[in-house]
Assembly symmetry: C2
Homo-oligomer: 900 residues x 2
Amino acid sequence: MKSALRRPKTRRLAAPAPSNGRAGKAKAIYAFGGGKADGRAGMKTLLGGKGANLAEMTNLGVPVPPGMTITTEMCNTYYALGERWPHGLEAQLRQKMRWLEGVAKKGFGDPKNPLLVSVRSGSAVSMPGMMDTILNLGLNAQTVQGLIVKTENPRFAYDAYRRFIQMYGDVVLEVEHKQFEEILGKKKLKYGAKTDADLSADALKELVAEYRQLVKRAKGTDFPEDPFEQLTGAVNAVFRSWNNERAKIYRRLNTIPHSLGTAVTVQSMVFGNMGSTSLTGVCFSRDPSTGENVFYGEYLVNAQGEDVVAGIRTPKPIAELKREFSKLYQQLTKISQRLERYFKDIQDMEFTVEEGTLYMLQTRTGKRTARAAVAIATDFVKEKLITREQALLRVDPAQIDQLLHPTIDPKAKPRVIAKGLPASPGAAVGKVVFNAHRAVELAEEASERVILVREETSPEDIEGMAAAQGILTARGGMTSHAAVVARGMGKCCVAGCSDIIVREEENHFEAGEATVKELDYITLNGTTGEVMLGEVPLVQPSLTGSFKQVLSWADQTRRLRVRANADTPQDAKVARDFGAEGIGLCRTEHMFFGEERLPVVREMILAKDASARKAALAKLLPFQKQDFLGIFEVMKGLPVTIRLLDPPLHEFLPNTPEDQERVSKQLGIDVRQLRETVNSLHEFNPMLGHRGCRLGITYPEINEMQAQAIFEAACELARDGVKVVPEVMIPLVGHPQEFRIAKRTIDEVARQTMARYKVALQYLVGTMIEVPRAAVVADAIAQEAEFFSFGTNDLTQMTFGFSRDDIGKFLPHYLKERILPADPFVKLDQDGVGSLVRLGIEKGRAARKGLKVGICGEHGGEPSSIDFCHRVGMDYVSCSPYRVPIARLAAAHAALREKK
Amino acid sequence: MKSALRRPKTRRLAAPAPSNGRAGKAKAIYAFGGGKADGRAGMKTLLGGKGANLAEMTNLGVPVPPGMTITTEMCNTYYALGERWPHGLEAQLRQKMRWLEGVAKKGFGDPKNPLLVSVRSGSAVSMPGMMDTILNLGLNAQTVQGLIVKTENPRFAYDAYRRFIQMYGDVVLEVEHKQFEEILGKKKLKYGAKTDADLSADALKELVAEYRQLVKRAKGTDFPEDPFEQLTGAVNAVFRSWNNERAKIYRRLNTIPHSLGTAVTVQSMVFGNMGSTSLTGVCFSRDPSTGENVFYGEYLVNAQGEDVVAGIRTPKPIAELKREFSKLYQQLTKISQRLERYFKDIQDMEFTVEEGTLYMLQTRTGKRTARAAVAIATDFVKEKLITREQALLRVDPAQIDQLLHPTIDPKAKPRVIAKGLPASPGAAVGKVVFNAHRAVELAEEASERVILVREETSPEDIEGMAAAQGILTARGGMTSHAAVVARGMGKCCVAGCSDIIVREEENHFEAGEATVKELDYITLNGTTGEVMLGEVPLVQPSLTGSFKQVLSWADQTRRLRVRANADTPQDAKVARDFGAEGIGLCRTEHMFFGEERLPVVREMILAKDASARKAALAKLLPFQKQDFLGIFEVMKGLPVTIRLLDPPLHEFLPNTPEDQERVSKQLGIDVRQLRETVNSLHEFNPMLGHRGCRLGITYPEINEMQAQAIFEAACELARDGVKVVPEVMIPLVGHPQEFRIAKRTIDEVARQTMARYKVALQYLVGTMIEVPRAAVVADAIAQEAEFFSFGTNDLTQMTFGFSRDDIGKFLPHYLKERILPADPFVKLDQDGVGSLVRLGIEKGRAARKGLKVGICGEHGGEPSSIDFCHRVGMDYVSCSPYRVPIARLAAAHAALREKK
């Protein structure tokens, strides 16, 4: 057996490494084969998922082609040394290759009995398709002859050889892929071949020669003949592929640390394309899309793995294997079941049969849909494979969002015409309308499904939004009016879609070359931001039994309570149905936007003095009271946190000259006067302006009216025996004195109202902690406030100094450059904002023992933020009704994580 | 001797006080008289300034009419009990009045030999004219007869009586003052009397009767005859006067705690109006306006104290007293000198001579002008009365602002036509102009003094502002563009003057009925906000020798270094002359507003890509470099902290359609394109938008250009042997990664530039801590940053969630209602913002030992904030050049306070 490894070393592959980069001390390469392996499944960080599982399978006696894995540590060292190998790595690799020759009983570079290997990447976290792979490594002008002799199949041998040169040339030598394709194309033309498979052995032999000339022309050197030189080149290429652009982007998008590095697995080749008793395939131990306990997969006879992926030939479903090769099928299902039971999770496997012999090439935890995740988790518990706690941890809270909204049918092939921000998840189909009135008209009177398309929405569009299936806007960000309101309604929304130009007055919008007119159908995907032409089929969500099961386990596990942010009885109903244990944020200003109410609100704002303002507020009182009656009734017995009016008053006034004209007529006031008021209320930084408790302090009559509505509603119900737990929340408090003054008004109104109704109610008055100062002086505030609710939206804005409406100009760049690990409005910034939250809780509880603390920012529905809320000892999280199940599960995860 | 005190008690003055409000245990009343006193000067908190000093004078043997002081504690108890006397107080008062009768050898209510008393307020902090006083108390139908017999002067006795009824009726019984005046007026008419003094004894007797009828008519009861009832009523009235509106406002304006309470001094009356050997006067131990060591004061013969104040007769200067009553003069000056030496400060005294006998009625520390304060402090040190440290503490840092700007001549009687915000102190006279070009033209070409009057200023007005003596704007707050720029220039500014209507196009402005045309003279008082018609005479500031002396003592005492905020070589020069030890904040964007530069800046902003932007930046480089050369040269050897570009780019673009039209022509670009850029750069909350380091990170070429300008300038000077200490400051950092990226660029440019010039410079790269997050993660930031400068303007905005530009809608209300103790943009909010500053310093120094820390917000020039900066261990404060002397003195105060 002649081996490339026994030849004298002719040159160093790399300059000597500095002494801190030695590979000699640590084990750099882990072998597997001949029934035992150096590694095991638990060593994913060091060996990558693939390498660790190959080792484990080898130890389990599953048939695996022998090989070895170079550790991720070597990859990191390679980068630390400026892309050079550490001292000693080469020697270890040569030594292990010699061992492999012994196990495989072949020689690396042996012209008679050549050992061929694959070289693959593999990191601790799966990054499918992101990094490079080389197959058939070890072929050269001599060894190809040995392969011909051994297989008695020149066509197979030359095909393997030309594939190797092409792959290696592209990946390792960086010769343009398309140059190989051009040569191949010409060759097919020459021989009238339709596909690669139609090329004869001779044609392939010619191809090999031409490929080698191409490499020489492009690189100025010959294609490497020495198998070990080929190998070191391939290992380097895999190392390098860790930092290629698409891998870096993938990691950024999936928040995978760049520091993991990739392992490199070198494994002896087996061939699924050696004739009619050879085949290759992929399989799952269960159906990964439904979770059903059926063996699942597909295969191709006489093919290599890449053919399955390439999609040129259509693979057969795994059921066919049972008929074609029943023994093999039995062997495979047995291995599948064994691996599933061993790893205690659904397995995603690659296998190859070489001339009747089965080899497992890979097994890993199978990716699955949310539906499957839930089904598998509950089934595994039933099968006593895992505990309930393990089952809970198997379901990713972020993923189950899929189960709570309609989704695009995966089988559909829609025409995407534009892409905007995925502002509110789910999918929606409907006829396009360009104004809210039309939306209400069509939806309510003609029972049509409509999509409301606007340049951007304003409070006046609320009813139109409620009537629509989904909302599409051309402007505004993830927290624009459209986005926030849509998420609150659990309604699909694509916002800030700058690909479209909305021509409202002409009743159409343009998206590239497409023009979409009123009443044309479109489909929105609020989870991806895609806008599609026509009616794309949807899949409706179903709260299956197993989903309910998982959530009930979650309820038994979690410590955090879960409340919902809901502003209407309808929202409150949805929230309760999803398992909310109270309302954590009822935004009263949303009640001010109704069609009958807005004019009265405007009358209040335009009032010349306190008495005119009181008169307008008196007209609003019955509306507010009605809202609270409805909400209290739905939530009976559960706490309802009502936030007093928060936004600056100018948000309620019309901004465009046309709207001002219209409103001035409606209210019977001079348009110039209206305009002057709008101008006088204009603010340079409304986020930091006259809003929150500052409104109720400067206009106490607003607080009085709201308190009256709350307590009249509560007393009426209480008198009728309904249990009511109102928690009045004062927004934007920064100084204890603000709280004291606002609370005084509320307590006074409560006292009077209860006396009038002859009812004694338990109620609390607390505050939102959303201004950094509030967190800093939380002890002083807690002396007065009976609960805290962290308003992490505004707290994030002010702690970072980021206006949510304006971050579009720099946040994308910040995320791309990893200046910030994530959008802090999506995931709570635990280091910065979180420190203030922690400080606020500590100080608050120091001043008031057992102070009730919750969160009501959008983070309240985001799993990593919920974990944080658990760790800092909050009592509850509050989120959009449609995220309540996610929060219940995430809270259980947090409790389990803590237990560990 | 018949006494009202011996009469049986007929009724309780107040309901029994609850047991927690007993006066019996504590000493409630402190007596003085007969050569000794219960109290002493150190008891000001308890006895008020007046009572404490009367006690001290009595103990010193100075002639003082005997009396007693009811403590401030009693006033507070009075309020705590709901405006009732504590149990026991009445008994103590009766007892002490009996003692007084003994010392004065007169009886309270004795018809033969009546004891008359004055009842005066007096708190620990002087509140001149804010509270009430009653004189001649004890007179009634019987005792007035005794007074007539004793004085043999019926006119005097009836005059005293009618004055008492009038004063008591007004203050205690709350009968309208003008009703007494009406009766008096009719009486004068009836007898053809020009003044009160022309009324005969009989006329005054009639007046007494009619006054008593008025009281009976208005109150339904008789005017109280019982002297003790009179006394308790008067004491109540003084207690009540502590909480009258004007006293509350005065305390708010002067930040005097409401909890101090007032003492009540009851003192036996002496009369300066008993004939030609009686007189009354006020005097100062030195001249309170210049500080000169000359006895100073004025007096009126045959008059009561109120006549001196009333200004009907013109008092004589004290020098006349020497001629008229030389013995008395000697006695008085001796007492004055004695009191000054005893109290070791300038004394402000009231005295009365009754028939040749001198009585001192009051002595207190004399209020003085800043000029006098400085002169007196240094003279007292020379006279070895006080130490240097005491002298330093005698000069109020806030007050010396007067010495650094021109002021309105106190003798002038200007016509005030409008009042705006006192945006930048000092006074200015000039001809009105309505645009910046005209200001430059007149000022530079015709050497005219001009006042620039604008609706509001914009960056384009900078040169006009520099050319003007002062600036007047109709809109904008204390931190509007005009205000900030003017303060930086040390230039007088009245901003947000809503009393005026500016008609720029018609070249005039209106203020009430006045119309002021271009080139009319006006005068501004930037310290009060007043706008005056015509040329009002000014007093120029002078840095006298004693002022320099005080500052040099301050320099020897303080630990904090003092730097200045300066953007130009001119500012830097002023700062050095005022003693700045470096520049703590050089705002580079101010350099972008020059007439030649703004078009280039706009070119940079409108650039379509990085290369076009670089081309524009290359044109800006020479300007920036020139600025830095100038500043480094002025500051040679002292550190200069340069902040990289901070404001959002839209601040540099024209906003009005007319300006856009003009600029588009100037730059040769399409006006629509310009408008689109302006629109695309529009931000909802620019304070929280794309600014600060976010600019330099998204457009690294801006940072590169700025760093190049800094280091080229520094290297050129260093090469010529000038010592240069550049400190590059990255603004608005919230995350260490932002800092790291910006610093990398700066270090790289520095390295290249130094290599090019073959110069090695010491320089630092640090950051502003102005985003709350930065304070929270200061440890991580300090691992990279070499210094911190707290930008407390923005830190206050974000910590409170207050936009400085928008607080006008609620902050005045907050201050009025004492929700906040002070404007947090003026005085640093130590509890909230200060906690973050403290945290930032602790964390920063934990990560980097000896981290250099300063402040560069406007608080850096405010004494109470400087004290805080000292206490939290900052290395320096930086403030406007014109506040550097204030900061030097305040820093010394802080060091001395700490020593105590």
